[in-house]
């Protein structure tokens, strides 16, 4: 959909490259998420797809057609704005019917679709209300219904849930997923919340500094992060510096960890999730000798800080016991083993 898109704001020395040669293809009917920290260019990419901004270079294609020069009102794309941007002078029903009316659809047809949409977002009882009389969650639904009513090819959602409290957010996550499946419309969803991205998406594009760092299914992104940024942005990760040797990677203290390095020598960065670090007795077979530095209780889990022989400190996540007490005290000599296949080599 987006092809070699670059968007630069400003000129001369103050130029900001909000998007730097970004390309990605979004599949029809999928729930696609743009995930990344604030300022990485998510909104910019969304605004380029919607047509509010023109790319400095590159193209936007929808259904194989170049829409780069088309204004927003000519694109079959609708947006759910972060601020909702509901029309304060119109009722809920009139808000939802706005797009259809502007498209020149006949009134009976508009009314019928509005009723359908009201039912879809469960706001039948609110049809005649002013939008200012609705709660945040209800306004959110109106914004959704309004954007879905014209049946766009793509629905863009810019952090639509960030203004809601936690409970409502969870409800709306389920609701959004339901709406997407029921309507079959392609959703492009923006969030900086990794959990939200992992639970809702078919595919995720992890962005940072105006670039897509990795694009893939949630499981793939979590289990096979390509680089240090993705690994640390999504979930907790331990990084180890090692040297590539035949059959694995050697730590500075001499232990060799089994990992597929693709034959790469020299210094490499390894990543391993805390939940894949196993604490064993020091004499266990294949264990790396280590020492417990401390522990933090997280309810279901217990996190241990463990020092390796080369001085690096890693975390191990273990399910909490019945009492919640740390079973291994500070200073205890232990062994460390990594679950088979859990250690990854990163690109940088």
């Amino acid at each position: 959909m987006a092809k070699d898109v670059t968007k630069a704001f400003g000129q001369g020395e103050t130029v900001v490259r909000a998007l730097d040669n970004v390309s990605c293809e979004i599949r029809t009917g999928e729930f696609f998420t743009l995930l990344g920290p604030s300022g990485c260019g998510k909104t910019t990419l969304l605004r380029l797809i919607a047509g509010f901004e023109m790319p400095s270079a590159g193209q936007i294609l929808i259904d194989g057609q170049d829409v780069t020069g088309q204004p927003p009102n000519r694109r079959a794309v609708n947006t759910v704005f972060q601020s909702y941007a509901l029309f304060p002078h119109l009722s809920v029903a009139e808000n939802i019917g706005f797009g259809l009316k502007m498209k020149g659809i006949a009134k009976p047809e508009v009314d019928r679709t509005v009723r359908e949409m009201l039912a879809l977002v469960r706001l039948e009882a609110m049809a005649g209300r002013k939008t200012s009389q609705l709660s945040g969650g209800q306004q959110q639904r109106v914004a959704l219904a309004r954007a879905l009513a014209p049946r766009p090819k793509v629905l863009l959602l810019d952090e639509p849930l960030s203004a809601l409290d936690l409970k409502l957010r969870k409800e709306m996550q389920v609701e959004l997923k339901r709406l997407q499946t029921e309507t079959g419309i392609t959703f492009v969803f923006v969030t900086h919340d990794q959990e939200e991205a992992l639970t809702m998406s078919d595919r995720i594009a992890v962005m940072s500094a105006g670039k897509i760092q990795q694009l893939g299914a949630p499981r793939e992104i979590y289990t096979k992060p390509r680089n240090r940024f993705v690994a640390s942005f999504i979930g907790e990760t331990n990084f180890l510096t090692a040297t590539g040797v035949p059959g694995g990677a050697k730590l500075a203290s001499g232990e060799v960890i089994a990992v597929d390095t693709g034959g790469k020598g020299g210094q490499i960065t390894l990543a391993v999730r805390p939940e894949h670090v196993e604490i064993t007795p020091p004499e266990a077979q294949g264990a790396i000798p280590a020492e417990v530095r401390g522990s933090v209780y997280f309810g279901t889990d217990m996190n241990y800080q463990i020092a390796l022989p080369d001085g690096a400190e890693i975390e191990a996540c273990v399910q909490s016991g019945v009492t919640g007490e740390a079973l291994i005290g500070q200073g205890a000599k232990v062994g460390i083993r990594f679950a088979p296949g859990s250690v990854l080599m990163l690109e940088d």
């Binding site: 047509g51 609708n78 704005f81 941007a85 002078h89 009722s91 797009g99 502007m102 954007a147 014209p150």
Partner: protein
């Protein structure tokens, strides 16, 4: 039971005393309002039912002659029979027409101006607003004469147009309705811009994108999103321009010459050379009536349009 009864009794007393307090507190304002507005109006109303004095002023004899004189003149050759006064009707009609046109022109010019100011960075905005209010610093008469200087036959406008060869003869604008209209639009433009600015300033610009996103063209966004939302500002600005326009008298006097009178000039005439104070008073009351009717009509139409909108 007794306790709740006591409580509600106390509440009632408190409510009563707070009503009394409210009256006491608003008394100064009410007295001022009476002295400044209702009192003079009452005097005018009474004068309109008296007989004209021989050299101005009034004689305390009840008469409806002045009110008759608003619409009719007595035919001096035909035993003083009543004849519909065409000249008066022309003046009323011209006043209403010029006021409506002034309101329209100031809106058409004022809306883009107000939009421009409201979309400037916060720091610049104060400067622009300040510039808008500068004309208020000078006397109205002087400003009007300044316009004369521009539009008269040998004035700046004609000099420029002749100079660039756009016209071969000077435009005769002075002493026409057009001249009055130009002057009125200039004088009342700030009164339109300021309320419009206040309304546009409150307008959430993100709604524009929402409109474009939902297949509305620029014009449709203006018509279906911007105008309905800033309507209170449009109503306020129109009222602020229309009412003083209807009563204007300096501008039509200077730019319209003696022929193109508006109600204001006509009223002034009665208190001056005409020496017919009761007629002047009756005309003033008529003007008030026209303004009130126009406002009721306008506000009704504007709010009804809002309800059925969409």
């Amino acid at each position: 039971m007794a306790r709740t009864h006591g409580a509600s009794e106390a509440e009632r007393l408190q409510a009563a005393s707070s009503t009394r307090n409210a009256w006491a507190l608003s008394a100064p304002a009410l007295i001022l309002l009476f002295c400044a507005a209702a009192g003079p109006l009452l005097v005018v109303l009474i004068y309109s039912f008296l007989t004209a004095g021989p050299t101005g002023g009034v004689v305390w004899d009840f008469s409806t002659e002045a009110w008759v004189g608003v619409l009719y003149t007595r035919d001096i050759f035909d035993d003083g029979n009543l004849v519909l006064a065409d000249a008066h009707l022309t003046i009323f009609w011209r006043s209403v027409k010029i006021s409506i046109l002034t309101t329209l022109i100031t809106f058409v010019l004022g809306f883009p101006t107000a939009w421009f100011i409201a979309t400037r960075p916060l720091k610049e905005r104060a400067l622009w607003l300040f510039l808008i209010t500068i004309p208020f610093w000078t006397n109205l008469l002087i400003r009007t004469f300044a316009i004369t200087e521009i539009i008269r036959n040998e004035g700046l406008l004609n000099k420029i147009l002749l100079g660039i060869g756009l016209i071969s003869e000077p435009l005769r604008i002075m002493n026409t309705d057009t001249a009055v209209l130009i002057g009125m639009a200039y004088v009342y433009l700030p009164l339109m811009v300021l309320p419009l600015f206040a309304a546009i300033d409150r307008f959430d610009m993100r709604l524009l994108e929402a409109g474009y996103d939902l297949y509305a063209s620029r014009l449709q966004v203006l018509r279906h999103v911007v105008l309905p939302i800033v309507k209170p500002g449009i109503i306020a600005g129109s009222i602020l321009v229309f009412i003083p326009s209807l009563g204007a008298y300096v501008t039509p006097r200077v730019l319209g010459g003696g022929k193109n009178m508006m109600i204001g000039n006509f009223i002034e005439l009665q208190f001056g050379q005409g020496r017919n104070w009761p007629l002047g008073a009756a005309l003033s009351m008529t003007l008030l009536l026209i303004v009130m009717l126009a406002m009721i009509f306008y506000v009704r139409a504007a709010t009804k349009g809002g309800k059925s909108h969409g």
